[in-house]
């Protein structure tokens, strides 16, 4: 591009002026705010931020806290599932949407609408639906006539017994509670991913499709080997969007399970928030968020090198 021209400084003036808000935000808010946060994680700040250094005390306590360790474990499980399902569901739905279908507008709105609703009630509704006593489990069991276990003993293969005995109580079973959250999170978030992918698909040159059709390449191959590589930039956006949402997941947890049963759905962001504003120990909250940011940094920096290194060579 213009990079190697001698009058580059002058030529890029408009671009630089246009980028001033971005530069200010990056430096003052994000960099400044992060430094401020990290610095205060070494203090004993409680209700108010206070410059009262205590060294690594907050970190020692953090890593000695069981709840924090469990939160990280939960986030890993949730994060991997969310990432995979969001991508797959989002892309498949977008590809279906792009098949010259009728009522595209309606289908798109149906899949996207959950994104418009507040987390508080979303959590509540899913809490109801997943409630074993009057939610889905109840409905399925009713289909089987709701036969008591005693009646079914030794009956062998029976549809009504199978239905009556079905167990679906993700929010009440600590081992699978995290998947109960996942069901609601996917419901809420996949719509946005779908429209983003759809926008990406619509940004692809029509020539490609025409050419592949002329060459007789099946549609799925075109998607896999031509379209998906071309959509890489959109995928990166999606990845960041989902990743940020995963790291910051808080409201949904509070609304749906409050972190329970027990610690089964505790998340790092909730730990941060609970200690910052509930426990009024800002220092502890900052230490926890510093650890979260550090983890993000470990992912973002190599990505930046790959992304920009590649560009500069090409």
């Amino acid at each position: 591009m213009a990079a190697s021209r001698p009058n580059q400084l002058f030529r890029n003036k408009s671009a630089k002026i246009a980028a001033i808000p971005m530069i200010a935000t990056a430096l003052v808010v994000f960099l400044g705010g992060t430094i401020w946060t990290v610095a205060h994680s070494f203090t004993s700040s409680k209700l108010l931020p206070k410059w009262d250094l205590v060294g690594l005390t907050q970190y020692e306590r953090l890593w000695g806290t069981r709840r924090w360790l469990i939160s990280i474990e939960n986030l890993m499980i949730y994060g991997v599932c969310m990432l995979v399902f969001c991508f797959v569901i989002g892309f498949v739905l977008a590809a279906l949407m792009d098949q010259k279908i009728r009522f595209e507008n309606t289908f798109r709105a149906i899949i996207l609408y959950p994104y418009a609703l507040s987390f508080i009630v979303t959590g509540l509704v899913w809490q109801w639906i997943l409630n074993p006593e009057f939610g889905l489990q109840h409905v399925i069991r009713s289909l089987g006539g709701n036969r008591p276990p005693a009646e079914c003993e030794g009956v062998g293969l029976s549809l009504s017994c199978w239905l009556s005995g079905i167990e679906f109580d993700p929010l009440y079973n600590p081992r699978i509670a995290i998947y109960g959250i996942l069901i609601a999170a996917l419901w809420q978030g996949t719509g946005l991913i779908m429209v983003l992918m759809l926008a990406g698909l619509r940004g692809i040159d029509q020539e490609i499709w025409r050419a592949s059709r002329v060459d007789g390449i099946p549609a799925w191959k075109t998607y896999l080997f031509v379209v998906i590589p071309m959509m890489r930039p959109v995928f990166v956006t999606t990845l960041v969007l989902i990743g940020a949402a995963i790291v910051k997941v808080y409201d949904l947890i509070v609304a749906q399970t409050g972190g329970g049963p027990g610690n089964a759905t505790e998340m790092p962001a909730k730990y941060v928030y609970d200690y910052m504003f509930g426990g009024q120990n800002l220092g502890q909250g900052f230490a926890a968020s510093t650890m979260m940011l550090l983890a993000v940094l470990i992912v973002v920096i190599p990505w930046a090198f790959m992304e920009f290194g590649r560009k500069n060579r090409g």
């Binding site: 409680k46 209700l47 108010l48 206070k50 806290t65 069981r66 709840r67 009440y172 600590p174 399970t257 409050g258 972190g259 329970g260 049963p261 027990g262 610690n263 089964a264 928030y273 609970d274 200690y275 910052m276 504003f277 509930g278 426990g279 009024q280 120990n281 502890q284």
Partner: protein
Amino acid sequence: MTIRSILMAGGAVCAAGYASAAELEVMHWWTSGGEAAAVAELADALNERTEHTWVDGAIAGTGQTARPIMISRITGGDPMAAFQFNHGRQAEELIEAGLLRDMTDVAEAQGWKDIVNPPLLLDACTVDGRIYCAPISIHSWQWLWLSHKAYEDAGIPVPTNWAEFVNAAPALEAAGKVPLAMGQQGWQQNGAFQVMMISLLPKEVYLQVYRDKDAEKARGPEVGRIFQALAQAREMSRDSRVQDWNQATNMVITGEAGGQIMGDWAQGEFQLAGLVAGEDYTCLPGLGGNPTLQAGGDAFYFPALDDPEMTAAQGELAALLLDPQTQVAFNLKKGSLPVRGDIDLSAANECMQKGLEILASGEAVPDVAQLISADSLTRIEDVFVQFFADETITAEEAQEQFAALIEDAD
């Protein structure tokens, strides 16, 4: 003409004579039916009896939602005129930073020292001899709510104390009921533990553990008994899978559960469901054991403002909050107890009367929030959340974790 005289007193303290009309923004988290009705009493009193206007800044949720908002407003240099805070150690730092107004002048002019009962409520507002908040209501945790229907269905008499309650559990279970309803949230489980501490042991133990942070006491056999009782509670509440406290209360109301340990705010739920104390449900203060109440509750703090007119108006509002008429009106609506011992509350129902009697007899201890920091409290809550969720954790293990946190507490 008592109203006039109070106003005169309030006005005289703050500005000489006439204070011009100000808009007082008051921030609080009282938004549910009964609470909102109670706040309306305060607002009406301010609007009708002074020139000032009440600007409502209600933010629902727990303190956890409201706290960052209040702190931001105060540190952002654009504070409201008054805000609700649970009195206790929460405000200490704001006072140290000079962000809150010293209300001692108003308190002295109004004679708060003589009228506030129990006196420890005012102590909670006092830092270095200066008074920084106006207490408005008392809430206590030490109540066991029992469903008459559940015990009738099981064919056994309603228990009169904790031991009977535990013994009645098998019969309730046989009748398909949950003996103890308990919301699965840390603050509720922690609350139940404190209630047992105060009700089943001499109150000195509670004070030694929470006030003096005596870790040896916390490891000792007496507290050990409480952890055993807590393990029983875990056993009895195994089938109670609700989250919110009011859902648990609803289990008692419908007779699905035998009882619930919950603060006096549960009273409002029974009332709204049309149940009558003594007929449909029983309330046992101190679990039918020690008649001792933790006197926690709500108070208003007042940020330091530059405008002298606003400052004068703050003084009038503070005076109004402790005025006998407002106290009665507010607390009856909210279901809490008034902070003055000298007013007639004959309109209160059976349970509130019991609470008033205990307060009058002077059997009150400070709320935990006044004794240990919110940080330590949050960590202790985390222990109970785990304890209740995981039946493999023994009472001894939980006690050890608890004692370690008490050792570390501030």
